[in-house]
């Protein structure tokens, strides 16, 4: 029969199923395959906090969202063009975000009485039969049955066969989007190499899904999404936490010192620990500590010992680490503290994203305790952010907080990665034995107010440091009132001085003067930039600036803000950067806050901004 191929510019697919259905893997494999096809893309995994939430329920739905296209893709997409629903609950919880006329691929085997009841459909109602899906293109497949049939001869239990049904779906999508399957087969071979029957079954199911699309008359159209006009070069796909891992290792290599990572497992930061633990051949020392406090304290010990010391956590762990952060600040030792933010307060929403630790990072310690704070703005940007945080910590002898969040930590995008030789070295100077009998001043400072790094074991530099107030210069314990005030001021001046060693704030889009500036930080980069690009096309005089440095701010920030009548600050929190900007620059801003554990969508931000500008 004749099958036609349609060209599409961009597509948003949502994979949704039970948390045991393997949707994260399916999504990841489809993403990797998409990246190889040259499209630009952005992803957003969304899964329940429970490892295996009750099967078939709405609470147990695990989703993976992928937006790809032949143009620049900055967000994972507001609404879905294609939904893969493995059961009734997956359909119900995602239907609200389907574009009109979009496609729903359903596993009809996931719509039996039990599944419908668990998804809280009223007795006797089946959305596949009651007309509620009119207006959508619904592709029904008995995925469970078809997978079992394709594996009829496989020496596996029914349960094991059912685990392959995500591969059947993946195969079908590869057919639908005209893809090669080699990369997935390679991946499966590596994953199941030691279990040949399982490997064989997964490949069989994958191919069965592909052939099902090809041979069944029901499916007449295939789609092609062409390569995006990305900058020339070599690309890879990268997730935020992965880019952070690579960035930290790169920083240590460029500084010529070992990397120490102390951490305690916490969502969504654990993957940084897992990632770094795999790179022992780079000399990476990972230490899974007994708690968050031990994790940062061990890092402080390693920093004292001359390593690039890093600790990573999320909001609740940040709260636990605060006293030790104060110690690192008092000791004036380099330390990078990565906070992969999630919904708070307290345990909050462990698997949902939020930007609500900004004030904690800036102010959440006892005493006058200034600390540089940086943020990463996209999955690939975590690499640059990690390098920059490490550079500041090492060269300015200070703890530094790096803010990422669940959205970019688990999200992925293509990354035009650099060559090692093109990445600048990070110069680190350890204090050497004093010459000519000069006394060593542990708290002596250079013109940047930075003290020297004197590592235990160095001849002639034996000295004591600690959390008690220091006498300027000698570093001895001092209760002198004037000295304390001096030290408070100098610690602040040291952090503020960093502004001279960071780039000026640039615009990501828009004119240098205009009606409104969108000011953002962290994971809202993609959505703000794409809203601003669209509004510029529509004739609005708007621009976008995205902050890497939240303390100190870039030195030109005030002047830059003064070039716009209105400052719009979109954040996934209750207005934290807005507070800081108002306080710092005494100027009114317009906050746009969403606190629902999910990213801001283009549509809602664009609607809000237009209302502000026209209202």
């Amino acid at each position: 029969m004749n099958k036609t191929t349609e060209i599409q510019e961009e597509v948003t697919i949502k994979f949704a199923g039970d948390s045991g259905d393997g949707m994260q893997l399916t999504g990841t494999l489809f993403t990797d395959n998409t990246a190889l096809s040259g499209s630009d893309l952005a992803t957003f995994p969304d899964f329940p906090a429970e490892i295996r939430a009750p099967q078939g329920t709405l609470a147990g739905v695990s989703g993976f969202q992928l937006h790809f296209g032949s143009r620049e893709i900055l967000t994972p997409g507001d609404e879905y063009d294609v939904l893969v629903a493995m059961n009734a609950a997956a359909l119900k919880s995602n239907l609200g975000r389907m574009n009109p006329g979009s496609t729903i691929i359903v596993n009809t085997d996931g719509f039996d009485k039990k599944n419908l009841r668990l998804a809280k459909y009223e007795d006797g109602h089946n959305p596949l039969e009651d007309g509620s899906l009119d207006g959508f293109e619904v592709l029904e497949m008995q995925v469970t049955k078809l997978t079992r049939e394709s594996l009829i001869d496989a020496p596996l239990s029914t349960k094991e066969k059912d685990l392959c049904k995500n591969m059947f779906v993946l195969g079908f999508l590869y057919w639908r989007y005209n893809r090669q399957m080699d990369s997935t087969i390679e991946f499966l071979s590596a994953k199941f190499g030691r279990k040949p029957e399982i490997l064989e079954a997964n490949i069989t199911a994958l191919k069965a899904g592909y052939h099902y699309g090809e041979t069944t008359e029901e499916f007449t159209t295939r789609y092609n999404v062409k390569a995006a006009p990305l900058e020339k070069g070599t690309y890879r796909n990268v997730m935020g936490n992965e880019a952070l891992v690579i960035g930290l290792i790169t920083a240590a290599q460029k500084a010529g010192i070992p990397l120490f990572y102390g951490s305690y497992p916490i969502t969504p930061a654990s993957d940084v620990l897992h990632g770094l633990a795999r790179y022992k051949h780079f000399g990476v020392r990972t230490f899974q500590a007994e708690d968050e406090i031990a994790a940062i304290c061990a890092a402080i010990g390693a920093a004292y010992g001359g390593n690039l010391a890093v600790t990573g956590t999320s909001g609740p762990g940040m709260a636990l680490k605060t006293e030790a952060m104060g110690l690192a600040l008092m000791l004036e030792l380099p330390l990078v503290i990565c906070d992969i933010q999630r919904g708070g307060p307290s345990t909050g929403l462990p698997t949902k994203t939020e930007q609500s630790d900004l004030l904690q990072a800036l102010y959440g310690r006892n005493g006058e305790s200034p600390m540089p704070v940086l943020s990463a703005s996209s999955p690939a940007d975590c690499f640059e952010a990690a390098l920059e945080a490490s550079r500041i910590a090492l060269q300015h002898m200070t703890p530094v907080i790096l803010l990422s969040d669940g959205y970019i930590a688990n999200g992925a995008e293509p990354w035009k990665f650099p060559k090692a030789k093109d990445i600048p070295e990070i110069e680190v100077a350890f204090k050497k034995a004093p010459e000519n009998g000069e006394p060593f001043l542990p708290y002596g400072r250079d013109e940047r107010y930075v003290r020297e790094w004197a590592v235990p074991g160095t001849k002639g530099l034996a000295h004591r440091i600690g959390g008690l107030e220091k006498q300027a210069g000698t570093g001895e314990v001092s209760y002198d009132p004037a000295n304390h005030e001096y030290m408070v001021k100098i610690r602040e001046a040291k952090v503020e001085k960093i502004a001279d060693f960071i780039p000026e704030q640039k615009l990501s889009a828009g004119p240098e003067k205009g009606r409104a500036l969108f000011l953002g930080w962290g994971s809202t980069y993609g959505v703000i930039k794409s809203v601003v690009q669209d509004m510029l096309e529509e004739g609005y005089m708007v621009a976008h600036a995205h902050l890497r440095h939240l303390r100190p701010f870039p030195r030109n920030l005030k002047a830059l803000l003064d070039n716009y009548e209105t400052i719009i600050i979109p954040e996934i929190n209750n207005g934290q950067l807005s507070k800081v900007i108002r306080e710092k620059f005494l100027r009114e801003v317009v906050p746009y806050n969403k606190i629902q554990g999910v990213p801001i969508t283009k549509a809602e931000l664009s609607d809000f901004a237009k209302q502000v500008l026209e209202g």
Partner: protein
């Protein structure tokens, strides 16, 4: 410094800093400081190769008085700091100085994990059974019903037994000494240094301001012979003014016997074996309070209860670093940046 045979021999004074020591006059800490400085000199330690890490409390001021590297960190966390430092520089001699509150209350968790991981560090826990720096609240080692500022009707806490804790935490070296027996204390410090793995030494230390005499029954020369027993590897357990008493095992029950009147000879007694973990646990339970005058009173043991070799965390960590290089080769930064799958946009 004195020069003998062309090498520089440091003295105890060379390990003292120019800082005024600010413990209360008469504090047991002075004796411990002096013995540590003396032993470090006798061991010929290089001051630049020693790091002393403490938490918070009276004892934790220790680093300021030692002419070595040192860090006065935060309350209870010295074991964690020491772990990180030891990973960064395994060659350092790292000593953790802590107290009963710092090490067993706020920092109990970290002490537990330091001991089981078996980093090659030495922990000196100064036990004075009171909170001194905060002026006299009961501590986790204070006796039951102790009347203090925070417990006017008596503390309801059952005290922790530090040596039983250390053994329970899989400590590979567990010992006890006292501030008022310099010779014994020096010997124990030396043993701590020599042990490869985490050495845990509890030192009974008198706080003459808030808990004066807490350990006098064990340290006073009139009562000590009856209340304390000094352990020596390979030797029978004997005590008393004239070593006339001993401890034998009646099946699994330790029993005090009178060698002069009960018809037992030293050969019948429990022979101390530092490497026997079961017996070490038993010895740690010799925890009777002299003032209670129990007829079955077992004397409080001093010395090394347990010492055994077990691989150190940092050695194994470096082993894994080497193993990883052996398996995968030295990491290549370009390989790391590129990952497994790349594509070209041309």
């Amino acid at each position: 410094m004195s020069t003998t045979n062309g090498t520089i021999q440091l003295t105890a004074k060379d390990f003292a800093t120019d800082q005024d020591v600010r413990w209360c006059p008469g504090c047991g800490d002075y004796s411990i400081l002096k013995q540590v400085q003396t032993v470090f000199a006798e061991l010929g330690l290089d001051r630049d190769q020693v790091a002393i890490i403490s938490g918070i409390g009276c004892s934790s001021r220790f680093p300021y008085y030692m002419e070595t590297y040192g860090m006065h960190s935060i309350h209870g966390r010295a074991p964690a700091v020491a772990s990180g430092l030891k990973i960064a520089n395994p060659g350092l001699h790292v000593w953790v100085i802590t107290g009963d509150g710092d090490g067993l209350s706020i920092g109990g968790n970290h002490l537990l994990h330091l001991l089981r991981r078996n980093f090659n560090v030495n922990v000196l826990l100064f036990n004075n059974q009171i909170y001194g720096l905060t002026k006299g609240q009961y501590s986790p080692t204070s006796e039951e019903y102790k009347i203090t500022k925070s417990t006017p009707l008596g503390s309801l806490d059952h005290p922790v037994n530090p040596l039983a804790f250390a053994l329970g935490a899989e400590g590979s070296f567990v010992a006890r000494s006292m501030d008022r027996d310099p010779k014994h204390l020096k010997e124990m410090l030396r043993r701590c240094h020599e042990h490869i793995g985490t050495s845990f030494l509890e030192v009974y230390q008198n706080c003459n301001i808030f808990n004066d005499g807490a350990f006098f029954p064990f340290t006073d020369k009139d009562t000590k012979p009856e209340t304390a027993i000094f352990l020596e590897h390979g030797q029978p357990l004997r005590f008393g003014k004239n070593m006339e008493k001993g401890i034998r095992l009646d099946c699994f029950r330790p029993q005090v016997v009178d060698l002069e009147n009960d018809g037992y000879s030293p050969g019948d007694l429990w022979i101390h074996d530092e490497t026997d973990i079961c017996k070490a646990h038993m010895l740690s339970r010799f925890f009777d309070v002299p003032a209670q005058h129990k007829p079955s009173y077992l004397p409080r043991p001093f010395g090394v209860l347990y010492a055994a070799e077990r691989p150190c965390y940092e050695d194994q960590l470096y082993g894994q670093l080497k193993q990883a290089v052996g398996q995968k080769g030295e990491g290549s930064l370009d390989g790391l940046l590129a990952g497994t799958t790349t594509w070209e946009i041309s």
